[in-house]
């Protein structure tokens, strides 16, 4: 046999085995794929989804319009190379920036899409029928989760494209390659953040039998993290390291450090810090900075790789949070009794 032929046949057999493995994998996950497909269709056809899209699109457009109007003044003030990113991070006079809207609405969207994932099946009395089919129980959770993640990713990417396109029209400044990558990273980060909230909502939907209770629990956590957590963090930090007029520099520093540490326990803080770092190349460090640290530093934007490195812990933190919610759902759901009533 000629060497060329041998290589060809070897490659063919390799390809075959890969294809076999893929079909095996698909077969093992039939339940997951079928479930995910149905959930996806359900979400995209639901009125709930239409309402959410309208809400998010309107607020997004409003903020982008405000940002585009104020962009001239902003760029003149700050002298930045990354004008396009400004569309996302700058707000108007009375309208907060796009990223704040997403940080606020993203979790709400995830909650709205998955608060009744399991308890909805329960109250429709379809859960016992579903679990009497030859599928693993975790396929139900995974399939539903995957569908929500796909829907949020779809929504975010189209929203990002819409906002970018509109910004292009309004300002006439095309994005650079780095800006594009940064925006994509931002969208990816947001998808992960939304996935975390959807994992939490699924956890509550396993916990509670009533969809309303599950929705309420999700909203409570959302409100806590987006409003009260910061107040609480400040309160605790000030109690341990009181900031008086005569407070030593060390105490002030410790206070700041504690604030930051406690803040990192909240996914909302993790996400907002990461977004600011990725969309603002001029941010070099998160948290309190000592004079020695900036001494001799050259003022200038951080390269993309360094920005990504800066937010890596935040990213891992978000994923860890999602995994925690998942673990909780699994433990609860795997051994739960599935009764029709």
């Amino acid at each position: 046999m000629l060497p060329k032929q041998r290589i060809l046949t070897e490659a063919k057999s390799k390809l075959k085995s890969v294809r076999h493995k893929l079909t095996d994998l698909a077969e093992q996950n039939t339940g997951l794929l079928v479930l995910c497909r149905k959930e996806l269709a359900d979400h995209l056809n639901s009125k709930r989804f239409v309402i959410i899209v309208i809400l998010v699109a309107l607020t997004g457009l409003a903020s982008i319009y405000a940002a585009a109007n104020g962009i001239r003044a902003a760029t003149q003030d700050q002298k930045t190379d990354f004008v396009f990113l400004y569309l996302f991070t700058a707000g108007g006079k009375s309208v907060p920036p796009f990223i704040s809207f997403i940080a606020l609405l993203g979790p709400l969207v995830s909650l709205a899409l998955s608060f009744d994932a399991i308890c909805g099946e329960r109250s429709r009395r379809t859960l016992s029928k579903l679990l009497a089919q030859p599928i693993y129980r975790d396929a139900v959770i995974n399939g539903k989760f995957l569908a929500v993640v796909i829907v949020s990713a779809l929504m975010l990417v189209s929203l990002g494209a819409l906002v970018g396109g509109l910004g292009l029209l309004l300002t006439g400044i095309p994005p650079s390659a780095e800006e594009l990558v940064r925006i994509l990273a931002f969208l990816f980060l947001t998808t992960v953040y939304m996935a975390l909230w959807s994992a939490l909502a699924i956890f509550f939907s396993v916990c509670f039998r009533q969809a309303a209770t599950s929705a309420l629990a999700g909203m409570a956590v959302w409100l806590f993290f987006s409003v009260f957590a910061q107040l609480l963090v400040g309160l605790v930090a000030d109690a341990i390291f009181p900031l008086t007029d005569q407070a030593a520099a060390q105490i002030v520093f410790r206070n700041q450090q504690l604030r930051q540490f406690l803040g990192w326990l909240s996914p909302t803080t993790l996400y907002s810090e990461a977004v600011i770092a990725i969309l603002n190349p001029s941010i070099r460090i998160l948290g309190p900075v000592m004079m020695e640290q900036i001494e001799g530093a050259i003022a200038g934007p951080l390269p993309l790789g360094q920005s990504l490195l800066l937010i890596w812990p935040h990213f891992t933190g978000l994923i860890a949070g999602a995994l925690l919610c998942f673990a909780g759902s699994y433990v609860l759901f795997m051994r739960q009794e599935i009764r029709a009533d």
């Binding site: 429709r124 016992s128 089919q133």
Partner: protein, 311 residues
């Protein structure tokens, strides 16, 4: 034995919903779990399907253990839950299609099977209407079709006739009978409706407070349950006189003879009906009525279930 449970027990807190259940179901028969609400029928079914774990004991379905091998069990068991639910916005056909996909049926084969099943349960005409518009009877029949999508060897139906009108009930029962007789499937159904069970089941297990009171063919159940209690026999023979009472009292096993309106009531420690009628006829009495009291399933049912309902 296609289904077998040994000392199957399920406790909630301290109360036992199912208590030391030993059940054997043969392949190809229709077995009925008969009992009042809350007797543990549904819990038993859930344990057989691996939808809840037994506290003690074990079950085997076609050689598989539902707790440790749930997928194998679910591949061969079709299940119609108690008051089944559907995705209301989807049509009947789409609901069945979803089940077919979950069972990994190839699309073409799945559609064929759905066509066949819809026709079998008589829903072909309404297959493209959303399930939200279906009546209860139609839903129940769709539920049976749904349980049959995977072509199961065992079908478990939990209260299949609950809440449907007599005509719907008749249709559902006809379908269930076909499952065993035509297709040779094993059917396990639960119900609290005695007469329906009497009509279609080969064997019945009477279930009260988590315990299996009696189990067997319908006509043998009475003796099983009441074997240790004295029997009462109503008898009416003409002419009614003192000699008749004496003749009856002389039969071995007879304990008391009482007068009741126009007949007698005989209490005996064993079944004395044959001797009674022989004795009376030989003594030239004309026997008008002879009935054993309390041995029909109705009586047993009333007796045990009424007591259950009160407490």
């Amino acid at each position: 034995m296609i289904i077998k449970t040994s000392n199957l027990t399920k406790r909630y807190d301290t109360q036992a919903a199912v208590n030391n259940l030993n059940l054997e179901i043969r392949a190809g028969e229709i077995f009925g779990l008969l009992g009042p609400n809350g007797a543990g029928k549904t819990t038993t079914i859930l344990m057989l399907l691996g939808l809840t774990e037994p506290s003690e004991g074990s079950a085997t379905i076609a050689g598989y253990n539902p707790t440790t091998e749930p997928l194998e069990v679910k591949r061969i068991v079709g299940y119609l839950p108690d008051s089944v639910g559907f995705y209301e916005d989807l049509t009947g056909r789409e609901n069945l299609r979803y089940t077919a996909r979950l069972n990994n049926l190839p699309p073409a084969k799945g559609e064929q099977r759905i066509d066949y099943l819809l026709q079998r349960v008589g829903l072909t005409k309404v297959q493209d209407q959303p399930v939200g518009t279906y009546s209860r009877g139609m839903r129940q029949r769709l539920g049976i079709a749904d349980a049959l999508v995977k072509d199961p060897t065992i079908v478990i139906l939990d209260e299949p006739t609950l809440g449907i009108d007599p005509e719907g009930t008749r249709e559902v029962l006809a379908v269930i009978r076909q499952l065993a007789q035509q297709d040779g499937r094993t059917v396990l159904l639960s119900s609290h409706l005695l007469h329906q069970m009497q009509e279609i089941c080969d064997r019945v297990g009477i279930f009260v407070r988590g315990k299996l009171l009696a189990c067997g063919a319908i006509d043998t159940l009475g003796d099983q349950v009441l074997a240790h209690e004295p029997q009462q026999i109503e008898i009416r023979a003409q002419p009614v006189d003192r000699r008749q009472v004496e003749l009856i009292a002389a039969i071995a096993g007879v304990e008391t003879v009482e007068r009741d309106q126009d007949g007698l009531i005989v209490t005996a420690s064993r079944d004395v009906r044959a001797e009674l009628s022989k004795t009376l006829i030989e003594a030239n009495y004309s026997l008008v009525h002879l009935r054993q009291r309390g041995r029909e399933l109705d009586d047993i049912y009333r007796r045990y279930f009424a007591r259950q309902e009160v407490s």
